[in-house]
């Protein structure tokens, strides 16, 4: 009986991966996919995506149009920034964040309360913080802050002795946002990466939305764009964990380095 069920669930997992690879997966199905990927840890979660990519490549035209020159120049300009960031990273000795206390599922659910206690102290620090960040990201972040419906959250470490802090600006209407972070240890992306998690009431709390992986490349303030894996309708909590390179589908939440509740706007 159990074998039948396991077989059915594995088959279902493959169907969902096929739907995702062909761009046809709804948010409910995505949550189901995440659940099954946890259940079947032996499954290569990218296998079908790779297969779809191979099919795509095999059907590519023989003499495709090149990138438009202006676009290519813009892309190269973006790349220069990214490469420079990588070079800075290479010049520094990688350091991993200190271990945070192990968090049980119950503790995970209690993040909101813990964060609330820390927000006041972080808020005081943040008010006095005035370091510059890359101009383009800072400008975009500022623009987003001025948009109607944009929410913010102050990020603080779960442990009182943590040095890192930051904030999040998020717009549900444009599904875009930025993290502004300081004090997180520089990471070696070949060993570990940071990953943002977005808690949204529309999602099962056990499976927060993947907000994207990112690297900390300097000891000063950094601004990181948020890339939510699925639509975050009304986020109420953001959290950052340290994960393996490329991130994970579902986090074990250890170590958890920063978290923060969305600020309630005065009525």
């Amino acid at each position: 009986m159990n074998d039948d069920r396991t077989h059915f669930e594995r088959q279902r997992l493959w169907e969902l991966m096929a739907d995702r690879a062909s761009g046809d997966l709804g948010s409910e199905e995505l949550a189901e996919l995440h659940r099954l990927l946890i259940q079947f840890g032996d499954v290569d979660s990218e296998e079908v995506d790779r297969l779809a990519a191979m099919i795509d490549v095999s059907l590519q035209p023989g003499h495709p149009q090149p990138l438009p020159q202006a676009l290519r120049a813009r892309i190269a300009q973006d790349a220069s920034r990214e490469i420079e960031t990588s070079l800075q990273l290479a010049r520094r000795k990688p350091r991993l964040p200190g271990m945070s206390p192990t968090w049980t599922p119950a503790a995970w659910l209690g993040w909101g309360a813990a964060a609330a206690c820390l927000l006041v102290a972080v808020s005081m620090w943040w008010t006095n913080s005035g370091q510059k960040s890359p101009l383009d990201l800072a400008r975009q972040r500022q623009q987003l802050l001025q948009e109607q419906g944009t929410v913010t959250a102050l990020l603080a470490p779960p442990a009182p002795d943590g040095r890192a802090h930051g904030d999040v600006v998020w717009s549900s209407s444009s599904q875009s946002g930025f993290m502004r972070l300081q004090g997180l240890p520089i990471n070696d992306p070949t060993v570990k990466q940071y990953q943002l998690w977005i808690f949204d009431p529309s999602q099962d709390e056990r499976y927060p939305i993947d907000g994207g992986v990112f690297d900390v490349t300097s000891e000063g303030e950094i601004i990181v764009p948020i890339h939510a894996a699925i639509r975050a309708k009304q986020p109420n909590l953001f959290a950052i964990t340290v994960e393996k390179p490329g991130g994970v589908v579902v986090s074990q939440r250890d170590p958890l380095v920063l978290l923060g509740k969305v600020a309630v706007k005065p009525s």
Partner: protein, 218 residues
């Protein structure tokens, strides 16, 4: 019917005679399996940027246009894809795929994600170079990539309805609902074609690789 309504006729030569074309159209991407330029990007080599753009710029541009409603969207999408690529180059594992497959996977994810965020379905826009897809030459074939060749042959071995569903879904970026609407097939049938087609290709590739491994041990 689906071709007339959704895809510019002639845009997909494999639809008419897969056996004729085989892997003729991968010539411009030859060399994908060699000189891991992604590793150089991951190592922070700024000179690798031009090489990446030379090798994969047209590939990404082709995918971006297929998965975008207009050229402006396609340009934004292509920029997003390359930013993702600079950031994820270190994840490339040559034991799992060619660089082109990795680049395509990164591109598809970003572009599908953009489509989902915009809450609209992809509008298949077949642009001129896709029409030129029929012009793959014999010399191109000689340069074919084994991985891509195997996939193409596996695709050609599927039942026609599965081939069509995969081609429209994966290459032309049509949703399952759009395919159902344009082919007249029930949605469940379309989903089944896509899923079973992918499973069959996986099986065929597995058989190929087992066969190759067996030959290698003789």
């Amino acid at each position: 019917m689906y071709l007339r309504l959704s895809v510019v006729p002639g845009s997909d030569p494999t639809a008419s005679n897969p056996a004729v074309h085989q892997v003729a159209r991968i010539g411009p991407y030859r060399g994908w399996m060699s000189d891991s330029v992604l590793r150089r990007v991951a190592a922070g080599d700024p000179t690798a940027v031009d090489e990446i753009l030379d090798r994969y710029g047209a590939l990404v541009w082709s995918i971006a246009r297929r998965f975008s409603a207009n050229l402006s969207d396609a340009e934004d999408g292509a920029q997003d894809v390359f930013i993702d690529l600079w950031r994820s180059a270190h994840r490339y594992d040559e034991s799992l795929s060619s660089e082109a497959t990795f680049v395509t996977m990164v591109a598809r994810r970003r572009l599908i994600d953009r489509l989902r965020k915009k809450q609209r379905n992809p509008a298949p826009q077949i642009l001129p170079d896709d029409l030129a897809a029929q012009s793959g030459s014999e010399s191109d074939r000689a340069e074919q990539d084994d991985e891509v060749a195997q996939v193409y042959q596996a695709l050609a071995g599927l039942r026609p309805e599965q081939q069509r569903a995969l081609r429209l879904s994966i290459y032309h970026g049509m949703s399952h609902e759009q395919i159902a609407a344009n082919t007249g097939e029930p949605l469940g049938t379309v989903k089944s074609h896509v899923r079973r087609g992918l499973i069959r290709i996986r099986e065929l590739l597995g058989a190929d690789r087992r066969g190759a491994a067996k030959e290698g041990t003789v």
